[in-house]
């Protein structure tokens, strides 16, 4: 059980209160859940302090970290791919509780949002001791620090697609992968989330996708053998996940080519 609650009246105070044995709490769905590593922590509630708007300015989309996943699903400002990635997270009840900031910060192995935001090249605004800083999402996922205030996607018209493979609709997934195409830079971006690896940007996949032809699924799977090695678990074997990565990346890339969206 959570040991103690540390009330704070500003995010700066919240930042000051973060030490070993304390943690932030927003929606609470990760911190309070069964088996949470934060079980014995003291918690710093920030749910009422975080920005909660979803703002579209031209092609730029800013998602407040205090938005719930359901807010994101319901937003007409956000692109369909981001909305549907948010919608894949478990149930509506969970989505009305879980925040975008909490989901990113949880760095779950099965995060749809992190994979999709990575494929969009999202930038996070993070409050650190030195002030608010802009950090690429993949950088944050590698070195999580500070309080996430918002996530920004600079071009929501960027074509993107994502896939999630699991046995049942809400069961553990074998693979989440997302692909985007940065029209301005004419570059592909690819990311995947899987057990033991978390969400990773797949530079080696991006290199393959830069070829004139979309690579065959088998070629991606073959390359995954040396580059991307998720642990086997109840959702499937390593070989199966690597196979799926090939199939799903190719499907996403084809979808992007086909629809341009």
């Amino acid at each position: 059980m959570i040991r103690e609650i540390i009330p704070v009246s500003s995010l700066e105070d919240a930042l000051d209160a973060i030490h070993d044995g304390t943690c932030l709490i927003a929606g609470g769905t990760e911190v309070n859940r069964l088996g949470s590593p934060r079980e014995n922590d003291a918690v710093i509630p920030i749910d009422r302090l975080l920005p909660r708007e979803i703002i579209r300015e031209g092609r730029r989309l800013t998602i407040g970290a205090g938005c719930t996943l359901q807010d994101l699903c319901d937003s007409t400002e956000a692109p369909v791919v981001i909305r549907s990635a948010a919608k894949r997270a478990a149930s509506r009840t969970l989505r009305t509780m879980a925040t975008v900031g909490g989901n990113i910060a949880s760095r779950r192995d099965d995060s749809y949002l992190n994979a999709v935001l990575t494929s969009y090249g999202a930038i996070l605004t993070v409050l650190k001791t030195e002030g608010a800083r802009r950090v690429e999402i993949e950088e944050y996922l590698l070195h999580p620090q500070g309080i996430i205030l918002e996530a920004t996607v600079s071009d929501v018209t960027m074509p993107a697609a994502f896939r999630r493979i699991s046995r049942s609709s809400q069961g553990p997934c074998a693979l989440v992968c997302a692909v985007g195409y940065d029209l301005a830079a004419q570059r592909w971006r690819a990311a995947a989330s899987a057990t033991s690896l978390g969400t990773q940007r797949l530079f080696w996949v991006e290199a393959l996708l830069q070829e004139p032809q979309i690579p065959e699924a088998e070629a991606i799977t073959r390359a995954a053998g040396g580059e991307w090695s998720p642990a086997p678990d109840v959702a499937g074997s390593r070989e199966y996940k690597q196979y799926l990565l090939g199939v799903c990346i190719r499907e996403c890339a084809e979808e992007i080519r086909r629809t341009g969206s």
Partner: protein, 956 residues
């Protein structure tokens, strides 16, 4: 702190990090329950926070301060239901009811947020709610009904077909008698009965799959203030018993004591601590020091049956009757640390070689049958270990009242529970009272005595109230599960598709103990072989002990696995013969009048008898199903990677166990002419109490509200073998009908005296009047007359239902699947279950049972799996990781349909309905996958990875 709950500001006490659910429970908001120890999956703890759904287990009470908290208590009460609650009751969706209040809250929130919600929006709104009992379909119907009534309060159209024009209650949609109480979240379940000041019991469980306890030191735990008792193998009663709740003498062996020196699975009982509260109990558990001698575990059927494998149950064997002559020699080198095994009669066991039970039998000449065949195929099918996952985990509250142990139980077998607890405690049955409370889901697993024995002993020893509730992890390690099986089916047929020989060999894994070790695997044969007519049939069953978590009864009781093997093998044979599988089945299936000779060899531990099929809806079920699915028409998806296929299965079950089961009931006329029915039956949410009330009201020509029922209380109600083997409606309902008939005779006799006319000239008329030639008397008059100082005494009727007749329910399930041959994903697009349950007594509840049974087996076939590591520990002991289907997994088009037949032996023509529903999905889906993608799925579950392996896309 101050919380605003249902519009009222309340001062409440909460620990700093306490979650809202705990606080609300303490404050008496019973509707906010928990099914998964804060996993955030099952949704039994749903509340609204500022009008939005939230899991109260995942919110700190402190985070809810200053917010509007809404619980289901705000919606209505049993006397005045809200529109949504009433729609749920009218749709038959309130069955086990454990999270029915949460569902009511979610639907209410949806209809408020989105009047005119679509089916997709209803599914989305309910996506955070697990329901195992009724397969979700009727939740959608309930939401649609509520929606229609909100727009037009007079809207009454029921989605459910009714039956039996000549009857008033039977075959009609009526409120389930406990539905109002359940949907409004009243005091109903064991957890609601716990009295302040009671102790909790916590179990220290084995970390090893196979080990001896070499030393156990409980001193420090016992010395902890607030600890009242620590029970281990050293101080528990030295009495052997079995945990299977079956009729005495049981075919299952007595192969355990309350605690054993030998541990036989990860999660086996090592020690129980009874303490003032959970914190002290948990602390005490940590203070117990145990040394183990770890033994090599045997996990699979092949490992267990390998010559020289370590014996899981290597103890001394005794027989109450029928002991073999060489028993002394057999027992010569038994290790006393292994304990003992007592058999009531021989069941073909050889525990030293890990054989828990075995049986074989045949009709005709199987070899001659294969010699006659033009085509012979032999295939093996493998099924996995799957969980019942009731929303309410196993739970018990035991206390002493004077010198009696009173057990508030969530059990399917109150009378077997009384017998087994009395035996385990070494006291007589009159000193044990079992009160069956409402059951939040059982599905077979509450047929076994998994925790009541220890709690009862603890209460008996300490004199205190003792509460013991399994955690979800306990459920995954210590609850009964479906036996993993390997079933090989060999079929011979002529080129015209006539079966000449059918052979079935079942290898089953019972795990550490022999609960149901003979009968579940036998059922794999006895519910599938009799589906076809063939002169030459044989079967062989071998069940082995192992160190997997325990197995036992699970809805369908072996039949879903036998049916998977048998029906898939028939489909494989059809392909081999170049024949339509439906045509092959039509040429060989049984019909009304068929004599099922094979049942002679399939008695459950006693001699069986051939049976004649006296009612059979297979003709209609197969015909209707084929038409609905457009059988024979090949569907195309338009995407070369998505292949569409169709499959079907015919299914059967029994209706209780003729010659073994017995159900009794009595019914009393009260002072105003209303009635009190005492039924021994155990309604586990399926609506048995409603069946009993309907039968009594039908016989006595009164409205259902004139009959109250008390059931499953061993001090008040007469004996009943319990709710298993599809016996509820047939046996327990039958007993209520007989009791009412007996009372009717007595009412007529009394009226005859009052009216001065012979009873034969009197007529019972609705509502509750006896009409003679010239005058009439009401039930009120009769009650006053018989209960007066000169009267004959309170009128009461008694019924005892036993039978030698078998009434088999039948059915046909059809499905259409889409297989993605690139990813291996299988989507069930259409599923139609057509079922003959004789007279559908509660048609709405019967449909719910069918949907629930089908969805469970879709889960078992496609998603669910208990996975183990090398040490035998279940590595996915949560509902999510295990893979239970949610509403978001429903087939796109899912229909259940009742095919009416009038069974000559069932009460009002009824047969059973619930268990049979589990038998079709697996073979129908396997066949459809083959039709779509050309591969046979011969192993549960048919996961995308397995499909890809079968397609050769990844290595095996």
């Amino acid at each position: 702190m101050k919380l605003k709950i249902n519009g009222v500001e309340k001062e409440v006490q909460a620990y700093p990090g306490e979650v809202l659910q705990r606080v609300l429970q303490r404050e008496g908001y019973r509707s906010v329950r928990d099914s998964d120890d804060r996993e955030g999956f099952a949704g039994s703890d749903t509340v609204l926070l500022d009008g939005k759904p939230a899991y109260a287990n995942l919110v700190l009470a402190a985070q809810a301060e200053g917010r509007e908290i809404t619980t289901a208590e705000s919606l209505g009460n049993p006397r005045k239901l809200s529109v949504v609650q009433q729609a749920m009751v009218d749709s038959g969706v309130v069955q086990s009811g454990y999270n029915a209040p949460a569902a009511a809250l979610l639907i209410t929130e949806l209809l408020h947020r989105r009047p005119g919600a679509s089916r997709e929006e209803i599914i989305d709104a309910l996506s955070g709610l697990l329901s195992r009992a009724t397969g979700y379909m009727q939740y959608i119907q309930a939401a649609e009904l509520a929606q229609a009534r909100l727009q037009d309060p007079s809207y009454t159209v029921s989605a459910t077909e009714e039956f039996c024009d000549d009857l008033v209650h039977v075959g009609k949609v009526r409120e389930k008698v406990d539905a109002r109480k359940l949907v409004t979240g009243q005091r109903a379940f064991v957890e609601d009965m716990v009295e302040p000041g009671s102790c909790v019991l916590r179990m220290l469980r084995s970390p090893h799959a196979h080990a001896y306890i070499t030393d156990i030191d409980t001193g420090a735990a016992e010395a902890l203030p607030g600890v009242y008792l620590v029970i281990t193998w050293e101080n528990c009663p030295d009495i052997y018993y079995g945990q299977a709740g079956q009729g005495f003498p049981e075919p299952s062996p007595y192969d355990r004591r309350m605690f054993n020196r030998k541990l036989r699975h990860v999660g086996d009982r090592v020690a129980a601590v009874v303490a003032e509260n959970e914190e002290i109990a948990d602390k005490a558990i940590q203070l117990i020091r145990v040394s183990y001698e770890v033994l090599p575990p045997v996990m699979t059927i092949d490992e267990a049956l390998k010559p020289g494998a370590p014996a899981v149950q290597g103890g001394e064997v005794t027989y109450v009757s029928g002991a073999p002559e060489d028993l002394d020699a057999y027992n010569r080198d038994s290790d006393p640390r292994e304990g003992k095994i007592i058999y009531q009669f021989p069941i073909g066991a050889d525990p030293k070689r890990n054989i828990a039970a075995s049986v074989s039998g045949s009709v005709g000449d199987i070899e001659a049958g294969f010699a006659e065949a033009d085509t012979v195929i032999e295939r093996e099918y493998v099924t996995s270990q799957v969980q019942c996952t009731p929303l309410e985990p196993h739970v018990v509250y035991a206390k002493m009242v004077d010198d009696k142990v009173v057990i508030h139980a969530s059990t399917q077998v109150p009378f077997h529970l009384r017998r087994i607890v009395a035996k385990a405690l070494g006291i007589s049955e009159n000193r044990v009272r079992v009160i069956k409370e409402r059951i939040g889901g059982g599905y077979g697993s509450k047929q076994d005595i998994l925790l009541e024995d220890v709690a009862a002993y603890a209460a008996y020893t300490t004199g205190r109230g003792v509460y013991f509730r399994f955690s979800r992890v306990d459920e995954f390690t210590a609850n009964s599960t479906r036996h993993p099986m390997k079933i090989s089916v060999k079929l011979g047929a002529t080129t015209e598709g006539k079966l000449t020989a059918v052979q079935m060999r079942v290898r089953a894994n019972t795990g550490p103990f022999g609960n149901h070790c003979l009968t579940v695997p036998m059922n794999a044969c006895s519910k599938s072989l009799p589906l076809v007519e063939c002169p030459h049939m044989s079967f062989e069953v071998v069940t082995c002990y192992s160190n997997i978590p325990p197995t036992g009864a699970y809805q369908g009781y072996g039949a879903p696995k036998g049916s998977y093997a048998m029906m898939t093998a028939l489909a494989e044979l059809a392909v081999e013969l170049g024949m339509d599988p439906l045509e092959l089945v039509q040429r060989n299936r049984i019909r009304k009048g068929s004599v099922l000779e094979i049942l002679k060899c399939l008695g459950e531990g006693r001699e069986g008898a051939a049976a004649t099929v006296e009612s059979c809806g297979l003709d209609e079920a197969l015909a209707q199903g084929a038409e609905l699915i457009d059988w024979g028409r090949k569907e195309e998806s338009g995407d070369p990677d998505i292949r569409i296929g169709k499959g079907f299965a015919m299914v059967q079950q029994g209706s209780g166990l003729p010659g073994l089961d017995q159900s009794c009931a009595d019914i009393h006329m009260l002072g105003d002419g209303s009635f009190m029915l005492h039924s021994g039956g155990a309604d586990l949410g399926t609506g048995l109490d409603t069946v009993s009330v309907k039968f009594a009201a039908e016989v006595l020509c009164v409205d259902m509200d004139q009959v109250s029922v008390i059931s499953g209380d061993t001090d008040i109600t007469p004996f009943d073998t319990g709710a298993y083997a599809s016996s509820g409606t047939y046996f327990s309902g039958g007993a209520a009908m007989l009791a009412a008939r007996d009372l009717k005779e007595k009412i007529l006799e009394a009226a005859s005296r009052m009216l001065g006319e012979p009873a034969s000239s009197l007529e019972l008329r609705r509502p509750g009047t006896i009409a003679g030639k010239t005058s009439s008397v009401s039930f009120l008059d009769i009650a006053r007359f018989t209960q007066s100082g000169t009267g004959s005494g309170e009128l009461a009727g008694y019924g005892c239902f036993t039978t030698e007749h078998s009434s088999f329910p039948y059915g046909a399930h059809f499905c259409q699947v889409a297989v993605n041959v690139k990813t291996g994903e299988v989507a069930v697009q259409k599923y139609y279950a057509l079922q003959d349950c004789g007279t559908p007594v509660n048609p709405d509840l019967a449909l719910g049972q069918i949907y629930g049974g089908v969805l469970k087996t879709i889960g078992h076939s496609l998603y669910e799996e208990m996975c183990f590591n090398e040490e035998g520990r279940c590595i996915n002991p949560t509902l999510r990781d295990y893979g239970v289907p949610m509403i978001t997994d429903l087939p796109q088009d899912f229909r259940a349909k009742l095919v009416f037949t009038d069974d000559p032996h069932g009460p009002f023509g009824a047969k059973s309905v619930a268990e049979i529903s589990c038998n079709g999905a697996s073979p129908a889906i396997a066949q459809a996958i083959h039709d779509a993608a050309g591969v046979w799925m011969r192993r549960w579950p048919f996961t995308p990875e397995q499909v890809l392996k079968a397609l050769g896309k990844i290595s095996q």
